[in-house]
Symmetry: C2
Subunit: 322 residues, 2 copies
């Protein structure tokens, strides 16, 4: 092998497009130095993607680079934070220059979209794995939390649910998957701009990465309340499966990798939010209501209860979903 | 498996000792929220340890937890930054509660020593690997850099060199290793306090993680100058091998994992620094001089040149050192 760690950093990760004035010192020293404005708080999130677990082995390098950043930006979106900087730890079994070129292109395409500067990280050899930490800024005291939902508030999700999980199921079964579905799995679009809108409302917010039931469950636990979810209203991708056969509903309720936002707001804020969502072209669907009674009740339109087959994705407990 | 990702976080990583007022929101939401003082800049470093590459497979969990944080704190030390917060991504092949208990104990023991709060991260399943990002603070404009060394400045290192590499060589050859040598490999002590002292001097600084020659080379490249290193003066651990047989010198020059600081300062600052080092019980050794001519010249006391067998550790190029 003739390419060194330093060559990799120089060739693929230093020639990035995004330059920011608040990067005092970027890649190339023992650490990066960054300027946080006095009236802002720092928001940080870190997520790891492991080959064969968080993405199928055949996933294109471009998509892995994109997704490693996207899943982290989704966490910032759920906090109402504006993304600023990222660090990247890339563990590779060997140096493959085509792969690196693709990975860097995917990472930087998304980074450019949100003006995120890559400021540091690590490259090392080992089983393929990518860890990204993103940094963002919020006005002091304005970060959105999972806690704070109150009985009577209306429950919403952005976008559509279950697309990524359906695509993954189809792939695993050896079926072909339409490009727009595959895109939902491989190149999720974090709801950053809509998160900034939500930051004005003080909504209780979580991003859906482990499935609606699991993540809504976290929001409700943090808020010490419960909810009814109207399962016939759950948004599915247009042009997909007609109706809601059981497999699709399971994906909508329990599938991972949606990277949509789930939030609860007072009725008085719905009209403004709906207008903002329309302006940003973010689909918004009201899926339920916050209640005092703990737990999630899934109901059909006629009020009858639906019992889901599980509660969502867990990297250590579940195998079926991996 | 009955232990979930959330259980792991609750049981092992949330019950940490360090509480800080500047953690607005810690573990348990989509991201952490942190308060950076108006007169400080944020310093961030990220390093990954992969099993079998950065530590021998038989390494105790406690030591892995300690070292994963230590190598990052060493980067902050080289910037003259005071550590504040960390995030941790832990990839585990399976849930082993004894292992997790040991890992968390090692991580938090060192974190407590420097008042570092764990504020977030990720746990997932896969080949054993640990990524830590540390955050620190410096007075605005005071971060130490690799750049800035000038011809005529005196070149120093903290502590002793090559201990970890010698220990690793002995282990790999099936020899027993004295506990204090093993400790240098498994529980490096980052030079955080001395880094804070250096921050007052504006020295050019780097931490030695990939070997003296490699890391001094980075400092010199960044500073556009060169150096002479007096190899007979390189500090070795007391009570180790007598004299400097070739293997030990190679470890001192090229061995990784020292986590000592290498820096160059003006002659006028040496006396004050020496006093501070004594107060902190940090051994300080003058090993050479900065020169205009690029490159590193290794010399014996009689002035004769010594040609090292290599230039240092590289995770992608070297195999022998892995």
């Amino acid at each position: 092998m003739t390419v060194s760690e330093f060559d990799i950093i120089e060739r693929y990760f230093r020639r990035q497009a995004v330059q920011r004035d608040d990067v005092v010192l970027g890649i190339g020293d023992d650490a990066a130095v960054l300027q946080v404005p006095a009236d802002r708080q720092l928001v940080v999130a870190m997520d790891t993607l492991v080959a064969g677990r968080h993405f199928p082995p055949q996933t294109a390098a471009f998509d892995i680079g994109w997704k490693a950043l996207a899943v982290n930006l989704s966490d910032l979106a759920a906090m109402g934070a504006r993304p600023t900087w990222a660090t990247l730890s890339l563990t590779l079994p060997a140096v493959d220059e085509d792969w690196l070129e693709g990975f860097a292109s995917g990472f930087f395409q998304l980074a450019g979209q949100y003006q995120v500067a890559l400021v540091g990280g690590d490259t090392t050899r080992g089983p393929l794995s990518v860890t990204v930490q993103v940094h963002g800024l919020v006005a002091s005291g304005k970060a959105l939390r999972r806690a704070g939902a109150r009985a009577g508030q209306r429950l919403f999700v952005t976008g559509t649910l279950g697309d990524a999980a359906c695509a993954l199921q189809a792939l695993s079964a050896g079926h072909s998957v339409a490009p727009d579905r595959l895109r939902r799995l491989n190149r999720p679009e974090p709801r950053v701009e809509f998160g900034l809108v939500l930051a004005e409302t003080g909504a209780a917010v979580i991003d859906i990465s482990d499935g609606l039931l699991a993540d809504l469950g976290h929001l409700l636990d943090a808020s010490h309340c419960g909810a009814t979810v109207w399962i016939d209203r759950l948004p599915a991708a247009p042009g997909g499966e007609a109706g809601t056969p059981p497999g699709v509903l399971d994906c909508q309720l329990q599938g991972g990798d949606d990277y949509e936002l789930c939030f609860s707001v007072d009725a008085g804020q719905v009209e403004t939010l709906t207008r903002s969502a329309r302006r940003l072209q973010v689909p918004l669907t009201e899926i339920g209501v916050i209640e005092t009674q703990p737990g999630i009740r899934c109901r059909h339109e006629d009020g009858s209860l639906y019992t889901p087959s599980g509660t969502g994705f867990d990297h250590f407990r579940d195998v079926a979903n991996d």
